[in-house]
């Protein structure tokens, strides 16, 4: 049986891991290489790096970073943030990234997903979706959750799967940062609609929440940032707890 993956997410700004409290207030959490190595040795199953400024300069910073990290960390590395073209994807993959995470461009230019999946393979294309609940359904937001596309999340997710997305990273805008648990209805609805793996992000504040995301939400992987960066819990604690709850983890 496949293990549930724990994926630390490092938001990168000017070469540092940051936490965005609000868009304008960024708190420096540490050095990305040191943090990545620590998480690797603590048992992280993958690592994700998000370029949160997504400028030309920040892209070259993150390329250098992934290049360096890929020489000493031997688990899958995902890079995201402002990716718009197959050329950019190629550059990232050639410099040590194993997968790319595509957000706004997946909505604005869905062909990017089919093109990149056919060139590089579905396994390296993660589509990142920000969802907000509207009545009984969810809608897709882009540009860091600021713009409502009015697209229905579940049907858009199915479109992405058809276009060739290999995995879906789902972030609930309603739950993000609240530490009150995942939007389990969202995770359940999504996992019943698509066959590709789902990575849950946004909302967990406790070990119980993480287990719920997997057991009730049927998430295949959990993307974690501040819970790990702020040392609320360690990867080992998470894995031990999940294991006790009957969730298969790599140990």
């Amino acid at each position: 049986m496949k293990s549930i993956r724990i994926i630390p997410c490092l938001d990168i700004c000017q070469g540092k891991v940051v936490k965005g409290v609000e868009f304008t207030k960024l708190r420096i959490m540490g050095d990305p290489i040191a943090m990545a190595e620590k998480y690797y040795h603590d048992g992280a199953d993958e690592l994700t790096f998000l370029d949160i400024t997504a400028t030309v300069e920040s892209r070259s910073t993150i390329i250098d970073l992934v290049k360096e990290i890929s020489t000493r960390i031997f688990i899958p590395l995902t890079v995201g943030g402002g990716i718009k073209s197959c050329d950019e994807i190629k550059t990232l993959l050639r410099n040590g990234a194993d997968k790319v995470s595509i957000g706004s461009s997946a909505v604005l230019n869905p062909q990017l997903i089919s093109q990149s999946a056919s060139i590089f393979g579905s396994q390296c294309i993660v589509v990142s979706l920000d969802a907000k609940k509207m009545g009984e359904a969810w809608q897709v937001y882009i540009h860091g959750g600021r713009i409502n596309t009015h697209l229905d999340l579940l049907s858009f997710a199915q479109t992405m799967e058809k276009q060739g997305a290999g995995e879906l990273l789902i972030n609930s805008i309603d739950q993000d940062g609240k530490k009150s648990g995942y939007d389990l209805d969202l995770l359940q609805a999504l996992s019943s609609k698509v066959q590709i793996p789902i990575i849950a992000s946004g909302g967990a504040g406790s070990l119980e929440h993480l287990a719920q995301g997997v057991l009730a939400g049927k998430a295949d992987a959990l993307l974690l940032a501040s819970l790990l960066h702020e040392k609320t819990m360690s990867i080992q604690e998470i894995k031990t707890y999940l294991n006790e709850q009957g969730v298969m983890v790599r140990c």
Partner: protein
């Protein structure tokens, strides 16, 4: 010297990074002449079966690989690199594989594909269990099951490690499987 076969696809650099980290000398191998400089051949794998075989044909590497294997030299295929050892694959029915191993590659029929993630691999000859990272939609179906050295189970049981004479294959990515993956590469790289 380990030759990493450069056939246009593949995650050459991840594999090279892992070998460098282990202190195992390596070079990219894209021409027939390169085979004279190497003692082991590694075929990495990311990509699709058909295009990979077409690239090998275009670059006239197939004969060099056959000769390499016939001479009893060590060869390791990773993921798609191992799948190319077979006669064919459901991924690209129009393309013939290398045919070093009898059998074909089949598509998973149950569960989520691609099969992405960590699976525990069980060796057939002892009770060792090891975690490795997998990314694939097709799996090996060799005619001679004695060549299967380890199995993994997602929704279906499938071969994780194949070993036949000088041929070794891994369905997982050892270069992305943490310390256990590095050990796997080290064992192959250091065994003469």
């Amino acid at each position: 010297m380990i030759g990493i076969l450069d056939y246009g696809a593949g995650n050459l650099f991840s594999v090279a990074n892992a070998l460098n980290y282990l202190g195992l000398q390596n070079m990219l191998t894209s021409k027939e002449q390169h085979f004279e400089k190497i003692s082991k051949l590694l075929i990495p794998g990311v990509g699709a079966f058909g295009p990979a075989m077409q690239h090998l044909q275009r670059s006239a590497l197939i004969e060099a690989i056959y000769r390499w294997v016939r001479q009893g030299n060590p060869i390791l295929g990773i993921c798609l690199g191992m799948q190319l050892f077979m006669e064919s694959s459901e991924e690209s029915p129009e393309s013939k594989g290398l045919g070093l191993i009898q059998g074909c590659c089949k598509k998973f029929e149950r569960g989520k594909t691609p099969n992405i993630g960590w699976l525990q691999v069980s060796y057939t000859e002892n009770s060792t269990k090891t975690w490795f990272y997998f990314v694939h939609s097709y799996y090996l179906a060799p005619k001679d099951t004695a060549s299967i050295k380890a199995l993994a189970c997602n929704n279906e049981v499938f071969p994780a490690i194949l070993s036949y004479e000088n041929i070794l294959g891994a369905q997982f990515h050892p270069e992305k499987s943490g310390a256990d993956g590095l050990n796997f590469l080290k064992t192959w790289g250091e065994t003469s």
